[in-house]
């Protein structure tokens, strides 16, 4: 591949065709420097390619990981729209780290948002070049040529040429600097619902996830990891493990690097998975349990309560919230608590590594192939260019697969045995060696003035810093910006506002869980808004609406008028104020990942505290919609994911370890608990924004608010319990 490494911002589509006659365009997708570090400068780098071959094969290299969110459909759809071909004609190739595809991480609901314009521009440029090639061939004006369904047609004449017949001539033409983009009214594909391209593979057993991959001579490994955070191996006895037929080697994984992401462990390598697993279960280890042997959830809570007394650092402050709060006669203070949560994607962590003297190949279900590449290069002491990372389909991700831990582990094992190895984690490994949504503690204060008008809103979040826990340098001036997501851009127009963060790190490994800190911050914000509305004697919907009224205000890049419209639409669609008989409603809204979501939950409650969630109405504004079916699926998924975290089990710590182990004690929502979900997508002319996460943050708050409407009991601590609903325990 002959391509320029760097290109200017203006001219970011490159004709990288070479001899062979195919038209190949390299183009840029803007992406933050890393999906894992909060806001940084936007770059333009070559990040994807299209190729149109002489036999009419159109290939798009997708450098984003598909974990069920549908990027392998949405991205080719955008290209096909401008290129004037049917979506089925675009062949998808998953780019590996050798393809020089620029930044490849998949996180933060950014794939569509960041790819939309570059993909359209690339498709339009290719289309215009093909039109020019046809016009040259026919010696007619370009305006007489139109692109349609994979052909250039001579308007008013029956002749036409397929793209493949034109690519050799198109490939030598200059790339137009600003190929015209289609108008929305002319869209044939964008905005129309369709099924995902991978669906049949996913329901016929033919889709290949990381766990399904194989290599000749491949071994299997199961790893026993330190049960307590930070524990070390003193000694171990592997005699019983080695007696299992098929077990080949047992060893402590020797690490070179200093990354925080891997517990110490012992690998059992075998000819098949079952032998490796059995051998691993027979290991006898004497652990040095270290400093965290006694750590429990109660200790962490105590630490949060103590740290809540610290001043913290303001992410945003308006007026003088403290003074106004002190001076007010009508005020409330509430404490909110959110527990650790596990991602628990359905495909357990796994990775296939092949470390050879001539290079390293890593294959698996990975969200951050380039982070994996650099971690493994560092760990093995080799150059990054010697490591190629191949991304398969992902059996769920939700942020867990951003982490390089399992790939790192697999590479170390493969190096030691000098053979390819597939490491497969058990569900217990996944549940107990996760990188959890941080637990958090929130102090909220609100006040009204003498006339009952909103006066103060103050929110202090106390939580571990996901970045700071790993990379202490990532925190500047005591503030982790990411921790303030969904808080620093609080949209409500209070005259006195104070939004503060206090970092309170713990030994518990923490990571980026679907919607990250938005899930905690929105829960506290939106329940407290309900409390303030009641204090003011107002309807919770009207109370919010009034604080979003007036001219549009822009906070970060969020617009209050878009959130207001989303909220108004949900009230209308979800029949706010008119629940079915015997049912009660709760409402909440939130903006994150550049999108807006508002939800109404309708529930009924029994005296025992058992409740039934009948219906969820969700309205979203995510700008221009590529595939409404995909957006609906993501909303349904985010709501279910949020509900599982809100009403089912949580991750708790006892004796320095995670107490839960599998789906019997880390339960998730089941089909009989599934509410009806109605999704309405606001028709918008704005640029498309992310939908993998934004429907999640309002979930717990809308539910808590519905429970209050039904029972008068306020849920401020997750998960929701029957005791708290019935008022028999302090919430």
């Amino acid at each position: 591949m002959n391509m320029k490494k760097s290109i200017s911002r203006r001219n970011f589509i490159i004709n990288s065709s070479k001899a062979g006659g195919a038209l190949m365009l390299t183009f840029a997708l803007p992406l933050k420097k890393s999906p894992l570090v909060a806001a940084s400068e936007t770059d333009f780098e070559p990040n994807a390619f299209i190729r149109i071959s002489q036999d009419n094969e159109i290939t798009l290299w997708v450098a984003r990981s598909d974990m069920g969110q549908g990027v392998r459909t949405a991205l080719p759809l955008i290209l096909a729209e401008e290129l004037e071909v049917d979506l089925d004609k675009v062949k998808i190739e998953q780019a590996d780290t050798n393809r020089d595809c620029g930044k490849m991480g998949t996180g933060g609901s950014t794939s569509v948002k960041q790819s939309y314009l570059p993909l359209r521009q690339a498709g339009a440029a290719a289309r215009e070049m093909l039109i020019s090639a046809a016009a040259n061939r026919w010696k007619i004006e370009r305006s007489k040529c139109i692109a349609e369904n994979g052909f250039i047609i001579h308007r008013g004449n029956s002749r036409k040429l397929s793209y493949g017949e034109l690519v050799a001539e198109a490939a030598v033409l200059p790339v137009p600097e600003a190929a015209p983009l289609k108008e929305k009214k002319d869209f044939k594909l964008i905005g129309k619902s369709r099924g995902h391209l991978d669906t049949f593979a996913r329901i016929s057993g033919t889709a290949k996830y990381g766990i399904d991959l194989e290599l000749p001579g491949m071994r299997y490994a199961s790893v026993l990891r330190a049960p307590v955070f930070g524990a070390k191996i003193k000694s171990f006895d592997d005699a019983a493990s080695r007696s299992i037929a098929g077990v080949l080697e047992v060893f402590k994984i020797e690490r070179r690097g200093s990354g925080v992401l891997l517990s110490e462990g012992i690998a059992v390598v075998a000819e098949n998975y079952w032998a490796a697993y059995k051998g691993r279960m027979l290991l006898q280890v004497d652990w040095d349990l270290g400093d965290n042997e006694k750590l429990g959830s109660a200790d962490i809570r105590k630490q949060f309560i103590a740290d809540a007394k610290k001043t913290g650092v303001d992410a945003r402050s308006v007026g003088d919230a403290e003074k106004a709060f002190t001076g007010s006669e009508k005020k409330i203070e509430s404490i909110f608590e959110v527990p650790f949560a596990s991602h628990s994607p359905f495909e357990p962590m796994n990775c296939l590594a092949d470390v050879r003297p001539d290079g390293v190949d890593i294959r698996g279900s990975l969200q951050s192939p380039q982070w994996v590449q650099s971690e493994i290069a560092r760990e093995l002491g080799i150059e990054k260019t010697q490591v190629t990372v191949h991304v398969s389909l992902l059996g769920g991700g939700f942020g867990r697969r951003l982490e390089p831990d399992v790939a790192n582990e697999a590479a170390l094992i493969s190096k030691k045995i000098a053979a390819p190895v597939k490491v497969i984690w058990t569900r217990e490994d996944d549940t107990q060696h996760g990188l959890y949504r941080p637990a958090s503690y929130h102090v909220l204060q609100g006040a009204l003035d003498k006339k009952g008008k909103p006066l103060v809103f103050s929110h202090k979040i106390v939580a571990p810093s996901i970045s700071g826990w790993r990379w202490p340098d990532a925190v500047k001036n005591g503030l982790d910006n990411s921790m303030m997501e969904g808080l620093k851009n609080l949209p409500y127009n209070f005259p006195n506002l104070k939004l503060t963060g206090v970092i309170s790190n713990t030994p518990v490994h923490c990571g980026w869980w679907r919607s990250v800190y938005n899930s905690q911050n929105a829960f506290a914000n939106e329940v407290f808004m309900d409390e303030l509305a009641r204090l003011a004697g107002q309807d919770p919907f009207e109370f919010r609406l009034a604080l979003l009224a007036g001219p549009n205000r822009e906070l970060d890049h969020y617009h209050t008028h878009r959130l207001r419209k989303t909220l108004e639409m949900v009230a209308k669609t979800g029949n706010w104020g008119k629940p079915a008989p015997g049912r009660f409603q709760g409402i909440a809204c939130h903006a994150c990942f550049s999108s807006y979501a508002a939800e109404i939950m309708e529930i009924s409650v029994e005296k025992s505290g058992a409740f039934r969630l009948h219906k969820v109405t969700c309205v979203v504004d995510c700008g221009t919609v590529i595939n409404p079916n995909g957006v609906r699926a993501q909303v349904e998924g985010a709501i279910v994911y949020g509900l599982s975290a809100a009403v089912k089990d949580t991750i708790t710590i006892r004796d320095g370890r995670v107490e839960q182990s599998n789906f019997h004690d880390y339960r998730i929502l089941r089909i009989d608990e599934m509410p009806a979900i109605e999704v309405l997508i606001i028709d918008s002319e704005e640029a498309p924004t992310g939908m993998g996460e934004p429907a999640l943050p309002p979930v717990a708050a809308a539910l808590s608010n519905a429970i209050f409407a039904a029972t008068g009991n306020r849920i401020r601590k997750l998960p929701v319990t029957a005791a708290a609903i019935s008022g028999s325990s302090e919430s």
């Binding site: 669906t199 057993g205 599998n662």
Partner: protein
């Protein structure tokens, strides 16, 4: 190690494995039928569901020795039956999967349901698929797809 003869999707296979190996790992690692998925290893999630003589069972906790003399259908063989094919078609029509990892198990459980009860109500579906977990939250579409397939068959 034990030499066993297995009937999977109408084909005969001979494998030489430890007799306590769960059916799941024999399907995946020995027969290379990787459509049946490992999710929990303790019959809690349903990702590994297969049909054994027409009954939905969890392959992750069933030793392979129990297969001898019985007929196994996995997701790779599901399209051979009228019900299986109708379910796959309905799954496509409703575009059920997100990540898709649990869907082999969901479809196998749905085949078992429709084989016994050609016109299940929501309660029947809830009861039959209660043990089939989906982390992506596709339950609403699963229900619709089963109703659609039932109408088709």
């Amino acid at each position: 190690m034990a030499k066993l003869t297995l009937n999977v999707n109408g084909k005969t296979y001979t494998v030489d494995v430890a007799a306590d190996t769960p059916v799941l790992w024999v399907l995946r690692d020995s027969l290379k039928l990787t459509g049946t998925k490992f999710g929990c290893g303790m019959a809690q999630c349903g990702s590994c569901t297969i049909l054994l003589d027409g009954v939905a069972v969890r392959s992750c906790t069933m030793p392979v020795s129990m297969l001898v003399g019985r007929k196994v259908i996995t997701i790779e063989g599901v399209a051979e039956s009228k019900i299986g094919a109708a379910l796959q078609k309905a799954w496509l029509a409703e575009d059920v999967p997100q990540c898709g990892y649990c869907q082999s198990g969901q479809i196998m459980a749905a085949v078992a349901l429709l084989s016994k009860n050609p016109h299940p109500g929501d309660q029947d579906i809830n009861a039959a698929l209660n043990g089939q977990l989906c982390r992506c939250g596709t339950y609403q579409r699963i229900r619709k797809a089963i109703h659609l397939a039932a109408a088709e068959v």
